[in-house]
């Protein structure tokens, strides 16, 4: 297959089709519109359902219904719209329903702007909704990775019966990059897999199924939570994904994900030319955060630097991994600012050669 040039939003849509997604509901919002546009015709071509919902609330609950019915289902939005989906996400997690939710983050808070941002990290990784639940969060850094992680997202969602979030930003969504895409042209009309015995499709030959999250009986909800926490423990041990770059011989390890990691990667390659021993640890799953894997690096490297397009959110997870063993620095830009290579290199120098200048990042 030859590569083609495609933007991240559309690639996610095509990857979803490829993964057997037969239901998409969404409400327009920049910078994820290309995905909604794409699905508006592609779902029909693929024999699935596209609904332009009246709101994000409607969209997530349409997806809840489709998922309850056994379909692979997806919705997408950007920051403010994702905030509106929080109740629905909490319900889906509690009902143990799979689904893929795409958040192409934009500058916030409030209406903010449509520039790239990573300030919904807390919301995505800690559960912006109510109650003790988590969503698996995948953070692609290239269009090609978006192709792969979207398919993975559907598999993980089904495997764990839990919503999975793809977290990107306007750069990932709108940028075109070469990618090898396999277009599948026909999908099964109803992709209710035999291996979803819990799904609702009429109780022929079995006891009725119930999809619910209300548990009023003494201890019942505690039991659901126990089951969910066990699942989450399993995910935490099995599913952390990350990429390391030069972490073997680095005095300073930069932790960055998604779009930011691209810029960090390039800054590092320049810094290495200047003989600065700096490497990168790139979490691919933001939840589960690759805590143990990062923890290991605390032995080797002298310091850590977290670079985010936010006021500092992932920095909590890095601190929780390193637990005071090494200094952790932070450099971020909030509200849609994109860190430049130059600025990152400067920070690297400040940390590794503190004589040259004295600034504190924390």
């Amino acid at each position: 297959m030859a590569k083609i040039l495609m933007c991240g939003n559309e690639v996610i849509g095509e990857a979803a089709v490829h993964a057997g997604c037969t239901f998409y509901a969404g409400y327009p919002i920049t910078p994820q519109n290309e995905l909604t546009h794409y699905m508006s015709f592609r779902m029909q071509e693929a024999g699935g359902t596209f609904i332009q919902a009246e709101s994000e609330l409607a969209a997530i609950n349409l997806v809840l219904g489709a998922s309850a019915a056994g379909a692979r289902a997806m919705t997408s939005s950007s920051s403010p719209g994702i905030s509106l989906k929080q109740e629905g996400i909490s319900y889906m997690a509690a009902c143990q329903l799979p689904a893929v939710i795409v958040n192409m983050m934009r500058g916030g808070p409030g209406l903010g702007n449509i520039a790239p941002s990573q300030a919904d990290y807390f919301q995505a990784t800690r559960g912006g909704g109510h109650g003790d639940y988590r969503t698996i969060v995948l953070a692609p850094s290239t269009v090609e990775e978006a192709w792969n992680l979207t398919q993975l997202a559907f598999d993980l969602a089904d495997e764990y019966r839990n919503p999975v979030m793809i977290l990107g930003d306007g750069i990932l969504g709108q940028m075109m990059e070469p990618v090898e895409v396999v277009r599948r042209h026909v999908q099964a009309k109803n992709a209710v897999s035999a291996h979803k015995p819990w799904a609702l499709n009429g109780c022929k030959g079995r006891k009725p199924n119930v999809i619910r999250s209300l548990f009023l009986g003494e201890g019942e909800l505690e039991e659901l939570n126990r089951i969910m926490q066990m699942k989450y423990s399993k995910i935490k041990s099995k599913e952390p994904r990350f990429e390391s770059l030069y972490t073997e011989d680095s005095d300073l390890v930069i932790v960055a994900y998604g779009t930011t990691s691209r810029i960090v990667r390039s800054a590092i390659s320049k810094a290495r030319h200047e003989h600065l021993h700096v490497g990168m640890f790139r979490p691919i799953t933001l939840w589960p955060f690759p805590e143990a894997q990062l923890q290991k690096l605390a032995k080797k490297s002298k310091a850590f630097l977290v670079v985010e397009m936010s006021a500092g959110q992932m920095v909590d997870d890095v601190k929780l991994s390193i637990l005071g063993q090494r200094p952790i620095h932070f450099y971020g830009r909030a509200g849609g600012g994109v860190p430049t290579e130059e600025a990152i290199i400067e920070v690297i120098k400040d940390i590794l050669k503190p004589k040259s200048r004295k600034r504190v990042y924390a």
Binding site: L5, I171, Q174, M176, R265, S269
Partner: protein, 180 residues
């Protein structure tokens, strides 16, 4: 090698297409490439721009803040991007619509009346391809063959009758640079 290019002009001048054709061509030649549309400040109207980064290494950010080359198709674009151009960068100016002179002395300026040329060739819409042809020739980015191939990918099949005219425009642009 790394080129960071901004194409800018009005909506309707084919600004997105210009970038996409170059990006496709670069990809076909095995280079790393990103293309990125306008984002951020604009709500409606104003100038549109697209950004292409071509490199032999993985492209860090597709967002170009200090371009190595810039194609400005109208006056507001020139006003907006001239200053951001990297030192000794290349500025392709659509002379037909831009009355003022570039103010910087440390850049390489190429003025072409692409709109007029396009009109003369029979279709104002191909001004973008003249400019792209010129830019490519000037910077020696990709082969003409790759550009022509790329046209087929970017122009939707139902408009493929326009391919020859676009190809001609690319070549016209390139010729112009060669002549200089």
């Amino acid at each position: 090698m790394k080129e960071e290019i901004i194409f800018a002009g009005f909506g309707g001048q084919g600004i997105m297409v210009m970038g996409k054709v170059l990006a496709w061509a670069a990809m076909k030649e095995g280079l790393k490439v990103t293309w990125m549309p306008s984002y951020g400040a604009e709500v409606r109207g104003g100038t549109a721009h697209s950004m292409v980064v071509i490199s032999d290494e993985m492209v860090p950010s597709p967002v170009v803040t200090s371009p190595t080359a810039c194609v400005v198709m109208n006056r507001p674009s020139m006003d907006r991007y001239e200053d951001s151009l990297a030192p000794s960068g290349t500025l392709i100016v659509n002379e037909s619509l831009i009355d003022r002179q570039p103010s910087r002395g440390d850049i390489d300026v190429l003025k072409i009346p692409v709109t007029k040329m396009a009109t003369d060739m029979g279709n104002t819409r191909i001004a973008n391809m003249i400019a792209l042809g010129a830019l490519n020739a000037k910077l020696k980015l990709v082969s003409m063959r790759a550009l022509v191939d790329a046209l087929k990918e970017v122009i939707p099949p139902d408009k493929h009758d326009l391919l020859p005219m676009n190809e001609q425009a690319l070549k016209e642009g390139a010729r112009l640079v060669a002549r200089q």
